[in-house]
């Protein structure tokens, strides 16, 4: 393969696949779409591996595994052709002024250390996929940080494509989005030091592909008779995969972007199928990793893993409400890979990412905030889309009995209880078939001193499932007069 057009083809494919990624977010956000089509997090073999080892496997593995198998042949093509974070970083690289002052080779081994240490703590039961996996990072950031902005500004053009696009009462947003934005912008901003900094230095998924890519069959070959050692390919390589002089290749870093084909003026470079011992890579992946590095990686991994059992541990006294079908708290935190899809598919904007509300270990896990959005009675979308089963796939009948919380009335500010004026909004909206909130008639004096018959709402704890629509719709300003708290039953128990 010698044609210079390949670098353009690659860019086109990358853009197309990025568009598919964007389209999938917009599609899933539509409340009547098929939520079981949320496949993106399962692209990552890293999530699959780490999740499997730590005990909570990703459900759909076919896509991720087939890409991994393809890597044995084509090398690290995923990073250059498929990865949406890679595409975003490429776009940012086009804008940012690069200093390129860091000696790249001294730090590229860090990604292997990230991978090894996360693998190590996966055996201890800590699933790091939610923090360092590029697919979950990019998915979360696009869904929870960028998309609300875009949808607010571009709601008009988007509504031409999607007829029901504006079918929300209010512009949606995600609580704590700023922290997700910080992580995302740091990942992108690192490019100021080095092109594709994240991919070269930190990405554990990239590290996994690199280990395989070293032995892949599709390799870069340089015709030494034609090569003038001008260095155009070396400076042009976004991954720093070409050794000084231009002849040798670090195959584990090459993402098959074919920029070197384009940059070479002497047609010295070609990509062919060759056996790894015939066309040798100039470097072993993770070259320069010392015993000390490994010890540091293991130690820091242990410290992160300790957050699971230490003072940051999952608090059972936590006040936050989990989505319906969520596993018991500790299992839930282990299983969730923080991809944020449940929050994207939620039709009422009820689910929001945590930061430290559910302990440090629960970062970016979904919580239900009833005052912002309630849990739609007939909807089971978050369970359908969840790639790990942290939120179980419930049937509609099961979901309608799954208790996520219980409502309590604050009598001091409730309008009928405190002012003796009829209101009943909470009773009206209660979706439970025989009403978990009923009204008691009482003769009382209202604020004008008149004897009136007033209807007082009363919650029946045995019927309430904690969907939170009462709190959401309560007309009392600010703090609602009816609030949903964690249920007295533990999460996961059913009312018959």
């Amino acid at each position: 393969m010698k044609s210079k057009r390949w670098s353009i083809y690659r860019a086109i494919v990358q853009l197309l696949l990025w568009s598919v990624f964007i389209a999938s977010i917009i599609y899933l956000h539509d409340p009547v779409s098929n939520a079981s089509l949320g496949f993106y997090p399962s692209l990552s073999i890293y999530s699959i591996t780490v999740g499997y080892i730590s005990g909570h496997a990703v459900k759909y593995v076919l896509l991720g595994i087939s890409i991994f198998v393809l890597t044995f042949v084509l090398g690290r093509f995923f990073c250059g052709w498929v990865c949406p974070l890679g595409a975003t970083i490429d776009a940012v690289d086009g804008i940012i002024q690069h200093k390129e002052k860091i000696k790249a080779h001294s730090i590229t081994r860090i990604k292997f250390l990230v991978f090894y240490s996360s693998l190590f703590i996966a055996f201890l039961g800590f699933n790091a996929a939610g923090y360092v996996d590029p697919i979950t990072i990019v998915y979360r950031s696009y869904e929870l940080f960028l998309y609300p902005f875009v949808s607010y500004i571009g709601s008009e053009p988007l509504s031409w494509v999607l007829p029901g696009y504006q079918a929300r009462d209010y512009p949606f947003y995600y609580y704590n989005w700023a922290w997700i934005a910080v992580v995302f912008l740091v990942v992108l901003g690192l490019s100021a030091f080095l092109r594709r900094f994240w991919c070269r230095v930190l990405c554990p998924l990239g590290a996994m592909y690199a280990l395989v890519s070293h032995l892949s069959l599709f390799r870069r070959v340089v015709n030494e008779n034609k090569c003038t050692h001008c260095g155009a390919c070396v400076t042009g390589c976004r991954m720093g995969a070409i050794a000084t002089g231009g002849v040798g290749t670090r195959e584990h870093e090459c993402i098959k972007c074919f920029d070197c084909l384009k940059n070479c003026n002497y047609e010295a470079i070609s990509f062919t199928f060759a056996l790894p011992f015939k066309v040798k890579s100039v470097e072993f992946p993770g070259k320069g990793i010392t015993r000390r590095d490994l010890l540091v990686a293991a130690g820091s991994g242990m410290m992160v893993a300790a957050s699971k059992v230490s003072l940051f541990a999952a608090s059972h006294q936590s006040y936050i409400i989990r989505p319906p079908g969520a596993l018991p708290e500790t299992q839930f935190l282990d299983a969730c890979i923080r991809c944020g899809q449940c929050m994207n598919v939620c039709p009422t904007n009820a689910l929001h990412p945590c930061i430290t509300e559910a302990s440090f270990y629960g970062m970016f896990t979904p919580r239900l905030i009833p005052r912002i959005g309630y849990c739609e009675f007939t909807c089971t979308r978050c369970g359908q889309v969840c790639p790990t089963g942290a939120i179980q796939k419930l049937k509609r009948k099961e979901k309608q009995k799954f208790v996520i919380g219980t409502a309590y009335i604050l009598h001091d500010i409730c309008i009928p209880w405190s002012e003796h004026t009829n209101c009943i909004v909470c009773e009206e909206v209660c979706p439970v078939a025989n009403k978990a909130i009923t009204l008691e008639k009482k003769i009382a004096k209202n604020k004008h001193g008149m004897q009136v018959e007033v209807l007082l709402p009363v919650v029946h704890e045995d019927r309430c499932i904690g969907c939170g629509i009462c709190e959401n719709r309560c007309p009392v300003g600010g703090q609602a007069a009816i609030v949903v708290r964690k249920p007295k039953l533990s999460i996961g128990e059913y009312y018959g």
Partner: protein, 307 residues
């Protein structure tokens, strides 16, 4: 008893005068100035798609023909109750076949038909699960998801509780508004019928309207005048309304009520579908007091037909 000549002649003149008067009113009848009935009630024996279509046809005929309400090229808005994300079996939302029948009749009359509501739940889910989206598609009508920024402030003439209201732009611009509520129990308003259904074209925080609800309902009807009310009494929710209820709470009333005055339609539906005295319902009382229509059902001129 003796009748004097004078008295005889005068009585003769009186009676002949009466004859003339009655014949004159007869002429009026021939020229079509006759007032239609206050409410037209159409009943059926079995609920099928065909019978619902037949009911709508019959109803429009009895009301004086669809052309009386809908002219060619008119902008017609049908406002059913799509308030909740539930399937048609649960009788929370207007029967989609009924909506389809009305929409396709208006379409045949040459109008541009739009169907809209402002649901309590997510609009996209409500339109889909209630079957209204499909019904609109079949009838060739458009559906509109109300946009939060397209409400306009309107003053309420003689408002009981509110001076101004936010009403949806399209409603204000429409030529014909057909209000198509479903009759069901409502915990706050006692019954939700045609008058209460208008909450779905009003913007703002719905929660606030539930405080002093009865006065607010009357104000909605003062701000928005509908041209025709077609009340869905096919399957009615008699308990645990408006958004829940078990299958036992649903009664098959198999009735559709047509009328031009929402107060009268509501009073009739309350009395004859639910057996509730209209004067016991707050907003009907208030409406009658402010002269929007009589709620004394016995004085209505009614046409009752069975299909």
């Amino acid at each position: 008893m003796k009748i004097s000549r004078k008295k005889f002649i005068s009585s003769l003149i009186h009676t002949s005068g009466l004859f003339v008067l009655t014949s004159l009113t007869g002429i009026k009848k021939v020229f079509g100035v006759e007032k239609t009935a206050d409410v037209v009630v159409i009943k059926t024996e079995v609920l099928t798609e065909k019978s619902i279509y037949a009911m709508v046809h019959k109803g429009f005929d009895e009301m004086g023909g669809i052309n009386k309400f809908v002219k060619r090229g008119n902008k017609v808005i049908i406002k059913p109750n799509i308030g909740f994300n539930s399937t048609p079996e649960r009788a929370h939302t207007t029967n989609p076949v009924l909506v389809e029948a009305v929409a396709s009749m208006c379409k045949k009359a040459g109008a541009h038909v739009t169907i809209m509501d402002r649901p309590v739940h997510n609009a996209r889910m409500c339109y889909r699960s209630s079957g209204i989206e499909d019904a609109a598609k079949k009838a060739g009508a458009d559906i509109v998801y109300m946009h939060r920024e397209k409400f306009k402030k309107v003053s309420v003439p003689g408002g009981l509780n509110l001076d101004t209201l936010d009403v949806y732009e399209d409603i204000l611009e429409a030529d014909v508004i057909i209000n198509m509520p479903i009759a069901k129990h409502h915990s706050a308003a006692e019954l939700t019928l045609a008058m209460k259904n208008l909450m779905g074209v009003i913007g703002g925080n719905r929660g606030f309207y539930h405080i002093n609800l009865h006065r607010n309902i009357v104000d909605f009807n003062k701000a928005v005048k509908v041209n025709l009310v077609i009340l869905d009494g096919l399957r009615i929710l008699t308990q645990h309304g408006p958004s829940s209820g078990t299958p036992e709470d649903i009664k098959e009333a198999r009735t559709v009520i047509f009328g031009t005055n929402p107060v009268m339609v509501d009073a009739y539906a309350a009395k004859h579908l639910f057996g509730i005295e209209p004067s016991s319902i707050g907003y009907l009382n208030l409406a009658a007091q402010s002269g929007m229509g009589s709620i004394n059902v016995n004085t209505y001129s009614t046409i009752i037909k069975t299909v």
